[in-house]
């Protein structure tokens, strides 16, 4: 499998604070890697290094087989970036923004209206971005990231603080781009989003990657798979957790069933957040 993004022992520190501590990872072609971590974990610094805004102080990055230190402009011509911070030209309309950025990519003709439709952003032609809601701006940022038909997308907290409709629109676009073969680096502290979208997730905390794997593998390997049974005992409702790995689980179920009246029972898997806490001792949000 072609490694579209390859980071080897990259590090970056602000003054004396090590924000990213010699991390290594790769992303295969057409894959979505969810980069999970709480605020200040090093997600944005990592993405800034990958897109060339920061030069790694140690290590090496290659994107699409090109070294970011040597062929940055060639790389930037083939990537799309959606920032966490809204950095649009607010005094321009959505279409003017898209046309301006298209001109920087050397694209003379763009179907701005189709791009806006793609991200479900229906606005007046001359409406200034300054009057847009946060969700509308985020969708426009997403449209801007797609302006050059990028092979690689870098999305920094693309649904952070969005209403459910806007968040869904953004997620749909991400999945659509993946379908088309784009490779996507997604940073988020929303574990539900990461679970839904990512082929693999990496946990980053205090600048270090704790683990990197598919959500299913992580849940299987590190999650506690249990069966919860609720039954009635002397008029009270009792709840009991049984491990699915326990050899005596069936015997215990039979025992409860013979003596008591079972109200309900269901299996429960660990969430990515549970696993993150297990690895880092920190919660994902905040």
């Amino acid at each position: 499998m072609e490694k579209v993004i390859l980071a080897e022992k990259i590090a970056y520190s602000y003054n004396k604070t090590l924000a990213v501590d010699h991390i290594s990872f790769h992303i295969d072609k057409g894959e979505i890697l969810g980069f999970l971590g709480p605020n200040g974990a090093g997600k944005t610094t990592t993405i800034k290094m990958l897109i060339g805004l920061l030069a790694p102080q140690d290590g090496k990055i290659s994107v699409l087989g090109m070294d970011t230190a040597k062929e940055l402009n060639k790389i930037q011509a083939q990537i799309g970036v959606c920032f966490e911070e809204k950095n649009l030209y607010e005094e321009m309309s959505a279409i003017e923004n898209l046309k301006f950025f298209a001109s920087l990519f050397g694209i003379k003709k763009i179907d701005a209206a189709a791009l806006l439709k793609k991200v479900n952003l229906l606005v007046e032609k001359r409406q200034k971005v300054a009057s847009f809601s946060k969700g509308m701006k985020q969708r426009l940022m997403m449209a801007r990231a797609l302006i050059n038909y990028p092979k690689v997308l870098f999305l920094d907290e693309p649904t952070d603080g969005l209403d459910p409709v806007s968040a869904r629109a953004v997620r749909d676009v991400i999945l659509e781009e993946k379908e088309k073969g784009a490779t996507i680096f997604l940073t988020t502290h929303d574990m539900m989003e990461a679970d839904k979208l990512s082929d693999r997730v990496a946990f980053i905390n205090e600048g270090k990657i704790s683990v990197i794997d598919t959500p299913e593998n992580l849940k299987h390997e590190y999650g506690k798979r249990i069966l919860k049974i609720r039954y009635r005992l002397d008029g009270r409702v009792e709840e009991e957790e049984l491990s699915l790995e326990d050899k005596d689980m069936s015997k215990r179920i039979d025992e409860i069933n013979s003596k008591h009246s079972i109200l309900d029972m269901h299996t429960e898997e660990a969430t990515l957040e549970d696993i993150f806490i297990k690895f880092t001792g920190r919660k994902l949000e905040g």
């Binding site: 805004l53 920061l54 930037q76 607010e90 005094e91 001109s103």
Partner: protein
């Protein structure tokens, strides 16, 4: 480096960037100051330069001169009358056209024109009169008239008036508004609004972005410089003045880019301007107070812009006199370019 990307960024900034209230104020200030100075010290509605003419021959040149609207003509009857008109300052310049001047010029022979010049007359008025006379003579001898001016100065050479002393300051302000504040405000504004990071992840290089901001500043500054010079009657010798304005605008644009790269917010930019701005305008003090040791003025880079403006506009100096100052200015441009690539490394962090 892509010219089309530079042009795209410039186009955007020119169409939307100068809406910044601070930049608009900076651009308007030299015009406001010009209006204030002109109103207080006169000059805005100054009359046209006056040329007294005595044509010994048939008056063909006078009739041609009278068609020209740049100067007023007094038709004198004798050389004595010319002398008197200039002495009593009813005319800035008096000229005597010899007999058969038309034939002499047409034959391609050299003609000597005796001129009386009022020492108190403005240099720009003298320049306008000389240019007008040459234009009329050229219409008589299109191949190029061979003219030698025999100049007799009447009275003392005048000292500098307030308007003339302030001219370099006003032009500097105009150039500063466009070339220094333009790139600085746009760059810091782009950093504050984070739009600079959006630009930096496109194929546009830092050099292209800075070049776009810088060129835009230079264009604005040259226009501002010309406007201020025109409003103050200092627009003389365009072939020399335009290169001077371009060089000084490039120098100021470099300072603007350095300031824009070094600071991250507009408040800090303006605070620093209050502190360091005096260094830019300091040479003006040495123009106002000519008895101060003039070598001190030469320490300041802007001296090599303000002094040539004064010499060209007011004294009518040419390349031979101010050429070395333009070369020093070019040296400063090279010197102040050096820190820009180093500071640019911080962009986007």
């Amino acid at each position: 480096m892509s010219i089309s990307r530079i042009f795209s960024i410039m186009k955007r900034e020119l169409s939307l960037g100068p809406r910044s209230p601070m930049l608009l104020f900076a651009l308007a200030l030299p015009l406001i100051l010009t209006a204030v100075f002109q109103l207080i010290f006169g000059g805005l509605w100054q009359e046209k330069p006056v040329l007294a003419v005595y044509d010994v021959g048939d008056g063909v040149v006078i009739s041609e001169l009278e068609k020209n609207k740049a100067i007023d003509i007094i038709d004198a009857d004798s050389e004595d009358e010319i002398l008197n008109l200039v002495e009593v300052r009813e005319a800035d310049v008096g000229v005597i056209f010899p007999q058969d001047i038309e034939d002499i010029l047409k034959e391609g022979k050299e003609v000597t024109l005796k001129t009386y010049v009022d020492g108190e007359a403005y240099a720009k008025d003298r320049t306008i009169i000389a240019a007008t006379m040459l234009s009329v003579l050229r219409s008589i001898a299109p191949e190029g008239p061979e003219v030698d001016f025999e100049q007799i100065l009447l009275g003392e050479e005048r000292g500098l008036g307030i308007l003339e002393m302030m001219l370099p300051f006003l032009v500097l302000y105009g150039v500063m508004g466009g070339a220094f504040l333009g790139p600085a405000i746009l760059l810091v504004g782009a950093k504050e609004k984070k739009t600079i990071t959006a630009l930096l992840v496109t194929p546009s290089s830092k050099a292209e972005i800075l070049a776009a901001f810088g060129i835009m500043g230079v264009v604005l500054a040259v226009i501002m410089g010309i406007v201020v010079l025109l409003l103050n009657g200092g627009w003389t010798q365009p072939p020399l003045m335009i290169p001077l304005l371009i060089l000084s605008s490039i120098f100021m644009a470099e300072l603007g880019l350095i300031a824009g790269l070094a600071v991250n917010d507009l408040n800090t930019l303006f605070a620093n301007m209050k502190i360091f701005g005096i260094l830019l305008v300091a040479p003006e003090l040495f123009i106002i107070f000519p008895k101060w040791p003039q070598w001190i003025a030469k320490i300041f880079p802007t001296y090599y812009f303000m002094h040539p403006v004064l010499r060209i506009s007011i004294y009518g100096d040419g390349l031979a006199e101010v050429g070395w100052e333009l070369l020093v200015l070019l040296g400063f441009i090279i010197l102040f370019f050096i820190p820009i690539p180093f500071l640019a490394k911080r962009l986007g962090k």
